[in-house]
């Protein structure tokens, strides 16, 4: 079993996302440690990809900055290996299938295991294609995180039954990014998933305010925030650490009150 379940043991989870290498891997390392201290229960590390089709503009731009700054998959593994000595917060990678496929699935997952990575979120690898990494992931004790969307309907049962780690409930149609309102019936989707699986459900996409976080965590087992954090990094660059710390504390408080 991976460490992912620990994120949900102490009440509702706050899950934070950051794009690796934006503005530099040194800052990313410090950010991850800071977010863990500030109360993030699980951290998603985005491996930048040139063409992230599920991302909105904020994370697209972060990917462009990270790649332009010379970030590579190998350098990210080195950073995680270093950082793992200092924290045992559950960590997952979020990236697209091509960087993994091209790196070599077996080598990629062996490296994940070697540096203490607990899971993988791959937005362009739906249920039908998860065998692409399934065996290697299992062999190296890395959870492939399943996503369910507002359009999943009758697919939820099939997906939830085979889900590992946690279930990533996509709150809204469209791509990642901050939304003023979430209109999907998230609670209903989570209820359906819970009929078929005991593992935790966390909600992501479009969440940026403490109110939204509280609301989404109340309907599920946790809330995932990406673009709002990445936006702070974009705004403050090398000086972003205190701002992100304050933001994560505020969001974790909101989750506690859910």
């Amino acid at each position: 079993m991976t460490k992912i379940h620990r994120a949900f043991e102490d009440g509702k989870a706050f899950i934070a996302f950051v794009t690796a290498g934006d503005p530099s891997l040194a800052v990313t390392e410090e950010l991850i440690l800071t977010m863990a201290e500030a109360g993030a229960d699980l951290i998603e590390i985005g491996i930048p990809f040139s063409d992230p089709v599920a991302e909105g503009v904020v994370i697209q731009d972060a990917n462009v900055r990270a790649l332009a700054a010379g970030c590579t998959t190998d350098k990210i593994f080195d950073m995680v290996r270093r950082m793992r000595q200092k924290t045992d917060v559950p960590l997952v990678f979020l990236t697209y299938l091509n960087p993994i496929y091209t790196y070599g699935a077996e080598k990629f997952l062996a490296n994940c295991e070697g540096c203490g990575l607990d899971g993988l979120i791959i937005p362009d690898m739906p249920f039908e294609e998860k065998d692409e990494l399934g065996q290697a992931a299992q062999a190296h004790n890395v959870d492939l995180i399943s996503m369910i969307a507002p359009t999943s309907h009758e697919r939820i049962a099939m997906i939830a039954k085979e889900a590992r780690g946690f279930i990533y409930c996509v709150s809204s149609l469209g791509v990642t990014g901050m939304r003023s309102e979430i209109t999907t019936n998230v609670g209903e989707i989570v209820q359906v998933a819970r009929k078929y699986s005991d593992i935790p459900c966390a909600v992501g996409f479009g969440i940026s305010t403490p109110e939204q976080t509280r609301e989404m965590a109340a309907l599920s087992d946790g809330a995932i925030v990406g673009s709002a954090i990445v936006k702070l990094v974009a705004q403050y660059g090398n000086e972003c650490i205190p701002y992100v710390r304050e933001y994560v504390q505020k969001m974790k408080d909101a989750v506690r009150n859910a």
Partner: protein
């Protein structure tokens, strides 16, 4: 790896969960209607009476004489309504979307040919239409942007990434995930997640069927080779498909090598790419060692794409088709050559296939037959070719 929608190991459905039910619904609708007599009759009627099919198979007598080898025939897809082969697929898909109850279509476009065709079919069939086009291409192909707007479509210049065709595809996929219920994505090439490569191929296969029939009537035999340009590969797949079962017919796809397949400024996917997963499919892509998609380049906006359709990837691996790189210089020469020699101005995309025909025809026998698929007309490219030759038309 799923077995669904595969061409050997290639293809598949590598897309966000949000879109999965949309492609499943599309596949069910396609399987229901593709052999439905009413659907087939309506599409045939549109192809004949609206698009102008069958397109002519023209014997290029002067070109044949000058090159001094194989007989050269040109399949005149440039004479279709809207000026390219794109209309074949678009009429099929928009008709299908209509049957599915959709009221809005979205599409990517590179050179603008697919966007124009989609806007045209949308106007005809009363659908709302939005087109996504790389900012660089809206500049290169300003006339086509205005043409789409004239047809009632809204054109969104895409400013992400390299601002070309691949970014237009990404942005159209993003738009589709945001609005699925009433919207069909009219993918323009034999690429993307299943069932698109199969649907687009089937709607384009009319090209190869006509070539075969027309040539049998004229020459009483099959061609020695069929040539077509390849970006995503829809006109090539359409021209090749009916000949796959005739192993004596060589199938040659002409890729855009840009400034050369040995330079970084190229879009020759088979020549320089490796296997990867992108835009919903497993296939060959131009990419770096970490799987970052390469910023490809070609003078031709329609071939300026870092991947190739999955069925082409399979035909390459099993040797049934050959893929050759053709540079900007060769394509521009061929563009001018065909204009002067036959009085036909080809699309710069199609000029890549004409260029390769010029290379191989002289060494072939006089009773060999080359069919070049002239996928589009070149009016849209005239300004760009003038620029390439240092002529400023608008000063």
């Amino acid at each position: 790896m799923g077995t669904h929608g595969r061409f050997g190991p290639y293809g598949g459905q590598y897309i966000p969960e949000t879109l999965m039910n949309a492609v499943i619904e599309l596949e069910q609708a396609y399987n229901r209607y593709k052999n439905d007599p009413d659907f087939v009759a309506e599409l045939d009627d549109l192809l004949q009476n609206y698009a102008g099919r069958p397109s002519m198979l023209y014997f290029a007598k002067k070109m044949t004489r000058e090159l001094g080898g194989a007989k050269i025939y040109l399949k005149r897809e440039d004479l279709n309504h809207t000026g390219s082969h794109k209309i074949n697929n678009v009429l099929g898909q928009v008709l299908l979307a209509k049957r599915m109850g959709k009221t809005r279509v979205i599409a990517e476009t590179g050179a603008g040919q697919h966007g124009v065709a989609t806007a045209t079919a949308a106007a005809l069939m009363d659908m709302e239409c939005e087109i996504f086009m790389g900012k660089e291409d809206t500049d290169r192909q300003a006339l086509n942007v205005f043409r789409m707007e004239l047809l009632g479509a809204k054109v969104h210049p895409v400013t992400s990434g390299t601002m070309t065709l691949k970014d237009a595809v990404s942005e159209t996929m993003r738009e589709w995930t945001a609005r699925i219920d009433d919207t069909h994505y009219v993918l323009g090439s034999v690429m993307g997640p299943a069932p698109f490569p199969e649907i687009v191929r089937d709607f384009q296969a009319v090209i190869g069927r006509e070539i075969k029939q027309q040539l049998l009537e004229r020459e009483g035999r099959l061609p020695t080779a069929v040539l077509a340009c390849v970006g995503g590969g829809s006109n090539a797949m359409g021209a090749f498909y009916d000949f796959i079962g005739n192993p004596e017919v060589r199938l040659i796809g002409c890729e855009a090598a840009g400034r050369g397949a040995d330079t970084p400024e190229t879009a020759a996917t088979i020549a320089t790419g490796t296997v990867g997963v992108f835009h919903g499919m497993k296939s060959y892509f131009c990419q770096d060692e970490y799987g970052q998609i390469a910023p490809v380049y070609s003078i031709s906006a329609g071939l300026d794409y870092p991947g190739i359709g999955p069925e082409h990837a399979m035909l390459h691996d099993n040797g049934r088709a050959e893929y050759v790189p053709v540079t900007d210089d060769e394509a521009v020469d061929a563009f001018e050559y065909l204009s002067r020699t036959e009085g036909i101005i080809p699309a710069i995309e199609s000029a890549h296939a004409v260029a390769h025909a010029r290379k191989i025809a002289p060494a072939m026998f006089k009773d060999d037959i080359l069919v070049v698929n002239l996928s589009g007309r070149g009016d849209k490219d005239v300004a760009a070719i003038a620029r390439y030759r240092g002529v400023n038309l608008y000063d």
